[in-house]
Subunit: 322 residues, 2 copies
């Protein structure tokens, strides 16, 4: 197994210098047609591929970005990732996915990519930015609280209020909110939007964005007095868990209680009943975020938040109250 071909091998075969080979590859228009062809055939003959480490070292630029997600198995994030990848590959960027799994140590480990030169910038979907991170950064979906960092996402409060308005339009008056984990910015924003539309005294049940927490919340919902006729959940996983939990107690959705979700994950249309929910433009969010990150890396960044529109998708989990 002979070693990998280097740019020097190509140069020798084509009878030119390594500089010319490099130019033939990256700026083909500055070399003459004949040498360009000679280099091309030498490349294919040797099977040459650029050594990325060497390029990165020389250019002081990795052409790679870190994408930090809290849970990669969550389809919500993977669809944003698809948008990110789309523009990344179009712009010659590699993406390095880091799944923090809610672990600060892992988060730090991935963020070290920024300083050790593995990545030129980072897309943060985890709602958290440790102090002292230098370099190009864009927060996605979950805004960073104190920091002034470019952001791409939706208006969570407005979307949450939209869900409540939908329930009110169906005739509901006693509406509860199943919220996310405390200290999470999405949780706070969605609670805020809920209370604004449902009234400041409407009940808020704590959850954790998980199926299990939704299931567990069934008891809390049924214990409410007066019992709500509808529940607006801060994400779909909890809505699905809640429906299962209610069913286990013989409470039917939507006949006895209506449920609305948030996010429109893939399973939302496959549950029984199919879940009415708020759909975020995930692909577009990913695309815009990556586009802005590249600008930030190239120093042409515009600061500020970019807010995209959501859509309410009606399925079968909401009905008029009994």
């Amino acid at each position: 197994m002979n070693k990998r071909a280097t740019i020097g091998d190509v140069a020798r075969l084509a009878g030119v210098s390594t500089a010319t080979v490099s130019r033939a590859i990256h700026t083909p228009d500055v070399v003459s047609e004949s040498t360009r062809e000679a280099v091309q055939s030498a490349i294919s003959e040797t099977g040459f591929t650029l050594n990325i480490a060497a390029r990165t070292l020389r250019q002081q630029r990795a052409n790679a970005v870190l994408v930090l997600v809290p849970d990669i198995g969550n389809t919500f994030f993977s669809e944003i990732l698809a948008g990110i990848e789309k523009v990344a590959s179009a712009r010659g960027q590699t993406i390095l996915i880091g799944d923090t799994a809610g672990d600060r140590a892992r988060e730090e480990r991935f963020l070290s990519y920024l300083v050790n030169g593995r990545a030129d910038g980072a897309l943060l979907l985890n709602g958290h930015l440790p102090a002292g991170v230098r370099g190009a950064v864009v927060s996605v979906s979950e805004a960073l609280e104190p920091q002034e960092v470019p952001h791409v996402g939706i208006d969570n409060a407005a979307a949450s209020a939209l869900a409540v308005r939908h329930l009110k339009a169906a005739g509901h008056r006693r509406i509860a909110h199943l919220s996310g984990p405390q200290n999470n910015i999405l949780t706070r924003q969605r609670i805020e939007g809920f209370l604004a539309e449902a009234g400041p005294d409407a009940p808020v049940i704590p959850g954790a964005f998980t199926i299990a927490s939704g299931r567990a919340a069934a008891d809390a919902v049924l214990a409410l007095d007066p019992r709500p006729t509808a529940v607006a959940c801060a994400n779909d996983e909890m809505a699905i868990g809640l429906i299962a939990g209610l069913a286990a107690q013989g409470v039917r959705v939507p006949q006895d209680i209506s449920v609305i979700g948030f996010d429109d994950i893939a399973f939302a249309e496959a549950t029984i009943p199919a879940l009415t929910t708020i759909c975020q433009p995930r692909l577009a969010i990913g695309e815009r975020a990556m586009t802005r990150l590249i600008s930030a890396i190239e120093g042409t960044a515009e600061a500020g938040a970019e807010i995209l529109d959501v859509e309410l998708v009606e399925r079968a989990s909401v009905a008029p109250p009994a």
Copy 2:
């Protein structure tokens, strides 16, 4: 914003050579205690971090591996990934996740990491290896067909047969199989195991491993004559889709038809009814796969397949026939 500190800056500050700094970092026991401390404090004073590109270039080793998955949003893969990451971080390896999304061009693009030096080896979860891939490779979950490549996974035929045996034990005699996409090795192996246990003439309905294909298969199931009393699905997504599709036609699971899944994804316990299914040891699969890949990279590989045990998890989607 001053530039990043290099090993030379550290050396100057500590009053030693760059070689000594490198040794103090990687082989601390060969430098004297005093210089080790001097280097340490110089490192923290300068905030020095190793430039990965430089190390990779010099060592001709990236200390990174590519993980090729067909769909990263599928929790089945993300849990295997967790196992992979666990041993990767313990062994100082970085993992680069590539989501092929079933696209051969993307697959090629990611596999080029092996030749351009970005990765030292690859874990293939996508069941496909283009010709001419050189280097350390381990196939995971989906065995590669013609190639002789180290493999870690389960015995799909045996697991499929296990599902059928469970249905038979519940009293079912007319059992159908909802299979995956054609030309997929998992599909073939699971069909094989199904037929071995259900009989060579038992009906096999084509699917595509997606929720939508499961839902669509409801018609085909109900059109079967005689109508089956149970359906063994080749994965959970299709099982969940099928249950939804049957419900839409007023057919109840498990009262009218029993359904069993395969994989035990997170949503399997949250569906109504909760899904009885086959659970693969995903974490262990990921751990073993990464361990073997590191061996392969270091040249101490043992070839051959490594088969782990599955477990049947009983929930509520299987009942005796009416």
